[in-house]
Amino acid sequence: MLKTNSNVAIDKNVIQEASKPEPAKTKQFVDNEYCEVKVENLNFFYGSVQALFNVSVKVQEKGVAALIGPSGCGKSTFLRVLNRMNDLIPGTRLEGKVSIHGENIYAPNTDVVNLRKKVGMVFQHPNPFPKSIFDNIAYGPRIDGLKDKAVLSEIVETSLKGAALWDEVKDRLNEPALALSGGQQQRLCIARALAVKPRILLMDEPTSAIDPIATQRIEDLIRDLCTDYTIIIVTHNMQQAARISDYTGFFLQGEMIEWGKTSGLFTNPEDQRTEDYITGRFG
């Protein structure tokens, strides 16, 4: 169980701290005591293959953090460490410490189910369930035991509004979600994640399977959402990272080469490899 209540007090402090203006050109986060996501010396293995090497990073509350890097560099693996989706793959192993909201999520007594409710995820390919639009959004609250139709309707409406989809689908909530276009499906998946009221949203290349116009809408949505949620997004599209993120991390062969403010990382990268990548010399 995440002890949400006891952390409410700290929460407010952090929000205040986070809203202080950051000194310009910091390559590293300010090392304050509390972070939304704090990863220390993370090593991750698929069987005997090591996928992540000694990754340490701190992500502040709210805002968008982007993870970039060539494919196979470990950025998706890293993302899935944060809601323990990697648990579903047999033979994976992890070393190091990952804390979210001040709690070690790999502690033995962690309730993975609760963790995933606090850390929502949106996948590369939109994956609505083969149910109606309404049932898709209501899925999370329902498995939580919520049955009251009126409350569910309210949650569905708020979530769909939150994902900027309400106006498009409000008249056909009972139609199959798979009848929506790809971009709408992806926003539906975002709405579905919002319906369980997460603190953090993980997005794994959410626009890579979607056309440019729909991508634009989702990027706008991400900017809107980041005032309320901490969003960590994996993308292989550097322009996208530059457009929407506040912080960017660059992964290469399982290592996090560089992490910093997006503006800084793209204009004045510290590491030669980062520069090579963003200037298009490889990848």
Binding site: N83, M85, L88, P90, V113, N114, L115, R116, K117, G120, M121, F123, H125, N127, P128, F129, P130, K131, S132, Y139, G140, R142, I143, D144, P176, A177, L178, A179, C189, R192, A193, V196
Partner: protein
């Protein structure tokens, strides 16, 4: 034949017609094997339908046999087959679907799952008469059910189990991984994932496979020989401990064991037709279900 490069075109034409005819003969030879299969099936169905149809009427379907089984109908056999199939379902479906869920949703793939899958395949290969021996020793004697609906139903259930497991596993495997991931990412527990996302999607497939398995069980004779099927019973079974008459066993009796075999031949034909029709209906139901399911998947519901 050996010609220069420039003459290739002509050689090509000649050769073509040559291998063309060879190939055509070969293809037709192969096609004939399928025509043979069609012919076999056709002649069987034709024989049974043409000679059995005349026997079947309302009385035949709703009356018990009379006068030493030389007259009357086959109602008790129909009812018995229906009852025993119900028990078969009750035994095989929960166990089979449960095992498939274990294999596909819960288990870490490794030695143990390989062992289970190997057992399923080998169980499928066990001769039906051996199931009969097992049923007689275990359900009839050790469990003390005696020859009864429940002993025969369990025996047939065991026989159907591999079909149920295999079909269920196949159905579960067609559920896209993305659905499971989506559900897990929303904080669903494993059972919630299975119950709310995987099973609803897999159930038509599971049903289809199960019906096919049942069609097979309903037509089996060897396993019920010593576990509960009766030659003749004056009344319908009144509990799961009763013996019963069954269509396949009745057909066996009427065609080989009866004291006046040639006299009761029409009844045998009628029984064969009813059994054939029943099995075909079950198969048809499975096919239609599969089709509807595919349409539904195509529509995305």
């Amino acid at each position: 034949m050996k010609t220069g490069v420039l003459d290739r075109g002509i050689v090509f034409e000649k050769k073509k017609s040559e291998w063309r005819s060879h190939e055509l003969i070969g293809f037709w030879a192969l096609r004939l094997t399928l025509v043979l299969v069609l012919f076999i099936l056709g002649i069987i169905v034709f024989d049974i339908v043409s000679k059995g149809a005349g026997v079947i009427n309302w009385e035949f379907l709703t009356q018990p046999p009379r006068v030493g089984m030389t007259e009357g109908g086959i109602f008790p056999a129909i009812v018995g087959t229906f009852y025993v199939t119900l028990i078969t379902i009750a035994f095989a479906v929960p166990l089979g679907v449960g095992a498939a869920i274990y294999l596909n949703e819960y288990a870490v793939q490794g030695k143990f799952t390989r062992l289970v899958r190997m057992s399923v395949r080998n169980l499928a290969g066990v001769p039906s008469i051996v199931f009969g021996l097992f049923g007689m020793a275990v359900f009839v004697k050790i469990f003390g059910f005696g020859p009864s609906l429940i002993a025969a139903g369990f025996t047939l259930g065991l026989l159907t189990l591999p079909v149920t497991v295999t079909a269920s596993e196949e159905a579960l495997r067609t559920v896209p991984r993305a659905y499971r991931e989506g559900s897990f990412a929303l904080g669903a527990t494993r059972w919630q994932v299975v119950r709310t996302v995987v099973l609803p999607r897999a159930i038509p497939g599971i049903l289809t496979g199960t019906i096919l398995g049942l069609a097979r069980a309903a037509g089996e004779t060897a396993p019920i020989l010593a576990t509960g099927a009766a030659f003749f019973l004056p009344h319908l079974p009144d509990s799961i401990r009763s013996q019963f008459m069954a269509l396949p066993y009745h057909l066996f009796i009427m065609s080989t064991q009866h004291h006046a075999i040639s006299q009761v031949r029409p009844i045998a034909y009628g029984t064969a037709l009813v059994l054939l029709a029943l099995v075909c209906l079950l198969n048809l139901a499975a096919v239609l279900l599969r089709k509807r399911y595919r349409d539904r998947v195509a529509k995305g519901l």
